[in-house]
Symmetry: C2
Subunit: 280 residues, 2 copies
């Protein structure tokens, strides 16, 4: 296992409460595994290999496709709560009793629900590019994605994840390039069913009462590292400040000249700071 | 020089544009010196020896008392601009042509002016517990200090710098304890003239037009690390977020369970993260 990388780890399958989920394990055999929770439309191949392999140098990393996504069976649900149900079932199916979470964007919504519901299971949480229920501008996702398809039709993520500066766009192209390292056993793209259901779940999260979000965050006693770029247009950066303020034990790290994908733009620093946080 | 510490470095004096200023040099002989700019009422002995010695392990550190403060000659001015004049003259008097700045609170105001005015001189800046001109609640200093003297008469900094939790207060007492390491050649406390003039300068900074602050910050191209605690009652934490957003090249680091003195409460982490930032 420890010789595998994001580019080479074989895709495996596990039955989680009757749903067959695709996953990959990478990195160290010992230690609390770090479970990656993916963004809107993403598959296991949408992660940055530098981030996956960076964390995997020091601890076990687990990637998976949640229910309905890519090669996983079942149907993608249209609520974050139901996505968290599937993720908890997946962790149990792997026989894991303690995990850390790295929840990016939509994955960060799922991480919040898991952490609040299962303090016995979730030890520490890293939350890049995400926000609380009822957070500012989260319900604009449909508009922002439509803008991205116009502005950057070949690769909307260059618009969605990176700042409109030469340096950030260059980092974005490097990120896209790193994803090509894996040449076989790649995940097929998400289906229209997945995209529609995730969009609904995302917007529902953004339109939930913010008092509900604050109450949930107030119940998450675990240490949290909140991370974002300066100008996140998918989950506006002010939401990261709100997460930090409403979580009882969070630290906040915001990067310059970057957006939603700051964790990829600053992959080296993010991994170093993330590992330091997990080790505190 | 490299064998000296915050507890042992002798106090020296230099003539800076006709004003005799007290200072101490600690740490490595080579590298860009890190100049510490002190908070309201503070002297060279108000720094945390763990922070001073932590930075001094990797680079030259310079402490000083600005004009009128403690053993320094001259009169404490009642504007941040004039304080920056004295600080620039001090740097020149030491023969330094390139410095990094660590400006805490009032010292962070001074650092902003120096960085904007002298991009040739100031390389990188660390700004803990500070805010922009016209920032939120900065003009409340008089009220907050009066509250602190009632709430914590023996040591107002336990109220001003630390959160009202057992863990943060314990960190506060440890910080105060570390300052006792230096037993000789200590700075006398600031005079009433200094306290009154600094209070005026502080409140003036807080009541300046915020557009003026934004314009100044927009002109600071140097990399900046903005740092604060979760609940700063001296320079409310939202000001750190504003600094981050208005500075062209800033990163933001906010700590949990802490206030204005987060840099002392998390001395070890702050030094590590500060040195990483200075070395990028």
């Amino acid at each position: 296992m420890s010789n595998e990388s994001a580019a080479t780890a074989p895709t495996r399958f596990v039955d989680a409460d009757g749903v067959r989920l695709a996953y990959r394990r990478i990195g160290a055999a010992d230690g609390v595994p770090l479970l990656f929770l993916q963004h809107f439309t993403g598959t296991m191949d949408s992660w940055d290999p530098s981030v996956v392999d960076g964390f995997a140098q020091a601890r076990p990393v687990v990637l998976f496709d949640n229910a309905g996504v890519s090669r996983s069976g079942g149907t993608t649900p249209d609520t974050v709560d139901a996505m968290a149900d599937h993720a908890v079932a997946f962790v149990a199916a792997l026989g894991l009793t303690r995990v850390d979470l790295l929840g990016f964007s939509l994955g960060g919504f799922v991480a919040q629900v898991m952490a609040a519901r299962r303090p016995d299971l979730v030890r520490r949480i890293i939350l890049p590019g995400t926000g609380p229920e009822g957070g500012e501008g989260i319900d604009d996702l449909g508009t922002v994605v439509a803008q991205a398809r116009l502005a950057s039709p070949a690769e909307p993520r260059l618009y969605l994840f990176f700042e409109q500066t030469e340096s950030s766009q260059r980092a974005g192209r490097a990120f896209i390039g790193r994803q090509a390292r894996r040449t076989t056993d790649r995940d097929p793209d998400s289906t229209e069913q997945t995209v529609a259901a995730q969009l609904t779940a995302f917007v529902r999260w953004g339109t939930a009462p913010s008092a509900q979000g604050a109450a949930r965050l107030g119940s998450i006693a675990q240490p949290v590292l909140v991370v974002n770029g300066k100008h996140d247009i998918v989950v506006p950066t002010i939401n990261s400040y709100t997460l930090f303020q409403q979580l009882p034990a969070a630290r906040l790290l915001l990067y310059p000249d970057s957006g939603h994908g700051a964790l990829f733009q600053y992959a080296g620093e993010f991994v170093r700071e993330g590992l330091q946080f997990l080790d505190y």
